[in-house]
């Protein structure tokens, strides 16, 4: 036990003496935490719409003003559909709506008139939402037109346009629909994962690279003592970072803490054992810090992309969802959101907890087994 303390003391000294390590540990994570939620805003708004109004009638102008009043669109005008298409090609606009000439006339005389909507669909999800917004504005506008022109028709018409069933909806756990509330807990997971995974792995490889590991290996120190001594400082640091991060989340982003903070920390401490084990395992496969860095980076990118942090896991095909059972980040992202935002308790996260504990045991066992004092 005393031996481990000597190693821990040495590790902390080295960490705090390292001019590159310190900013990585203490500045970068919080910069990330502060910048990411602002950058990572998927909310679809500020859609750039161009209206090509070839009718220039009272009616078409009324429609235009409906779009201008919508908070979702930034409206510009063009006179020629060809120009609008060009602007879409050069990425200046997201969609354009053509109001054909004689739109008002046809609607009056022929009882029906078309509008043409062209959407840049490279971002499929955004295109879908933009379409829904446009159509709902057009529908509202249409209803106004009908009730204005045929007042006697109004009740039946409205019924036929179909809203007899009253669909109400509530947004639980995040009634303001604040995107930060969703992102910040996930980013906290990234933060502790980076510290635990990247730095611990690199730190062990560093001793290999500079040769000090030889000197350690000829001492009677036990494998487990060395490993615990090397990893524990990062375990402690990551938990401290989590605490600071949560404070920032609370103060700057006003994230609610519905559930138990203790539960999050209990989960985080086991999760970190898992991540540290992973870092250690990677370090046993690498000879240089560069290799360890690349390997970790490769794994992290895959884990992060498939963690449900940015895109929902439910959207993935079945095989990919099965793969996420082996993705530690996915577990913690889900649990931290459940506990922080919904107030889930121990019983709700027990399953995830057992899974990550099992992974932690397996990974650490593999790492210790693969770490050799002797060749």
């Amino acid at each position: 036990m005393k031996t481990i303390l000597y190693i821990i003391q040495k590790e902390f000294r080295q960490i705090f003496r390292n001019k590159t390590m310190l900013p990585i540990l203490f500045v970068m994570p919080f910069l990330q935490l502060i910048i990411l939620p602002f950058a990572a805003d998927f909310e679809i708004k500020n859609i750039r719409l161009t209206i090509v109004d070839m009718d220039q009638s009272t009616l078409s102008r009324q429609l235009n003003s409906h779009f201008e009043a919508s908070p979702f669109f930034e409206v510009t005008y063009q006179l020629d559909p060809g120009q609008a298409a060009d602007r879409m090609q050069s990425n200046d606009i997201d969609l354009y709506l053509e109001i054909p000439s004689r739109f008002e006339y046809r609607l009056l005389k022929e009882q029906s008139a078309p509008l043409h909507l062209t959407i840049d669909a490279i971002n499929g999800a955004k295109a879908g939402v933009a379409q829904a917004y446009v159509q709902s504005i057009v529908r509202d506008f249409n209803r106004e037109v009908i009730s204005e022109w045929t007042p006697q028709l109004q009740p039946r018409a409205l019924a036929a346009m179909g809203q007899p069933v009253d669909i109400t909806f509530q947004n639980w756990f995040n009634p303001d629909m604040d995107y930060n509330t969703f992102m910040v807990p996930g980013i906290l997971v990234l933060l502790v994962t980076m510290i635990g995974g990247f730095l611990s792995g690199m730190n062990v490889v560093k001793e290999k690279e500079i040769g000090t590991i030889e000197q350690i290996n000829v001492t009677p120190i036990r494998k487990y003592q060395f490993i615990i001594g090397k990893l524990l400082p990062f375990w402690i640091l990551a938990l401290i970072e989590l605490a600071i991060g949560m404070t920032i989340g609370k103060i700057i982003f006003n994230i609610p803490f519905v559930g138990s903070i203790g539960l999050i920390f209990v989960f985080a401490s086991v999760y970190l054992l898992l991540i540290l084990g992973l870092g250690l395992l990677i370090s046993t496969f690498s000879n240089t810090q560069q290799q360890s860095m690349f390997l970790t980076w490769f794994l992290m990118v895959i884990f992060i992309l498939m963690s449900g942090l940015f895109t929902p896991i439910e959207s993935m095909p079945h095989w990919a969802q099965v793969l996420t059972w082996f993705n530690p980040i996915a577990y913690f992202v889900e649990v931290i959101r459940m506990v922080m935002l919904k107030g889930s308790g121990w019983a709700d996260v027990r399953g995830s907890f057992i899974s990550i504990s099992a992974f932690a045991v397996v990974l650490n066992a593999l790492a210790v087994w693969n770490y050799r004092k002797r060749s």
Binding site: R13, G211, R374
Partner: protein, 245 residues
């Protein structure tokens, strides 16, 4: 004389390459035993097997009375080791390095304090005890590494080319330190490719291509082979084997 190191047919193979080929020798307590050879002759591999860093492929060996196969951890308690590559922590201070290794070897706080004081005094490094090791010249670093290797008072010290790249004066001082250790009864097992250093040893063995080509005290070897210096003997042995190949 009691045997500090005893090896019989000790062999290490890496795949089809035999790095150390059935070497046998003994080293007595308090002896300074030099292991000579060209780069790649198998000196370091032999030393790594004796110090518990590497498993022998076959053969037997006992170090400080313990078996290299069964009791490597007990061996580690009784030996000190200084590797080719400088292996103290550059970003820790002199004092912190001593304290760290003392702690690793299980010394008590009081022991560490008195040991630190003693080592700093011996090395005349008290005035820079709180400087980081990276700011020290190489010679001082090597002397410090040698002292740190003995922080737990081992009965045997393994030194792997301890004087590589060091100036002649520091080399001289380093050998004085080795003698002082031997006077205290410490067995010193040292590899080197400086032939002049071989003359300082009580006994030497010359390794060529994984085998021991000659062994004995420097005087004996020179006399028996009728050469003016160990250097000459070494060149002859090395040429002899390569012409055989």
């Amino acid at each position: 004389m009691e045997q500090a190191i005893w090896a019989e047919n000790l062999t290490k193979k890496f795949g089809s390459f035999t790095a150390v080929d059935a070497i046998s020798f003994t080293v007595g307590q308090g002896e300074i035993f030099g292991f000579l050879g060209a780069n790649g002759a198998g000196k370091t591999t032999a030393m790594r097997m004796l110090s518990g860093l590497s498993f022998p492929t076959s053969g037997k060996a006992r170090v400080a009375g313990f078996d290299v196969y069964k009791q490597p951890e007990l061996i580690k308690r009784h030996i000190g080791y200084m590797s080719q590559k400088f292996s103290l922590y550059e970003d820790l201070t002199v004092q912190e390095n001593i304290r760290f290794y003392g702690g690793i070897y299980g010394l008590s706080g009081a022991e560490i304090r008195s040991k630190t004081e003693q080592l700093l005094q011996e090395l005349d490094l008290e005035w820079i005890a709180k400087s980081q090791v990276q700011s020290l010249p190489l010679g001082w670093k090597q002397k410090l590494a040698f002292s740190v290797a003995q922080v737990h008072n081992p009965s045997i010290v393994f030194l792997d080319e301890p004087t590589g790249g060091v100036d002649p004066i520091t080399r001289r001082q380093f050998w004085e330190m080795i003698y002082r250790a031997a006077d205290r009864g410490v067995t010193v097992f040292v590899t080197t490719h400086y032939m002049d250093e071989a003359e300082y040893c009580d006994r030497i063995s010359i390794m060529v291509d994984g085998r021991i080509a000659a062994m004995g005290s420097p005087g004996e070897l020179k006399r028996d082979n009728n050469v003016p210096s160990i250097n000459e003997l070494f060149v002859r042995l090395a040429r002899h084997t390569s012409s055989n190949m």
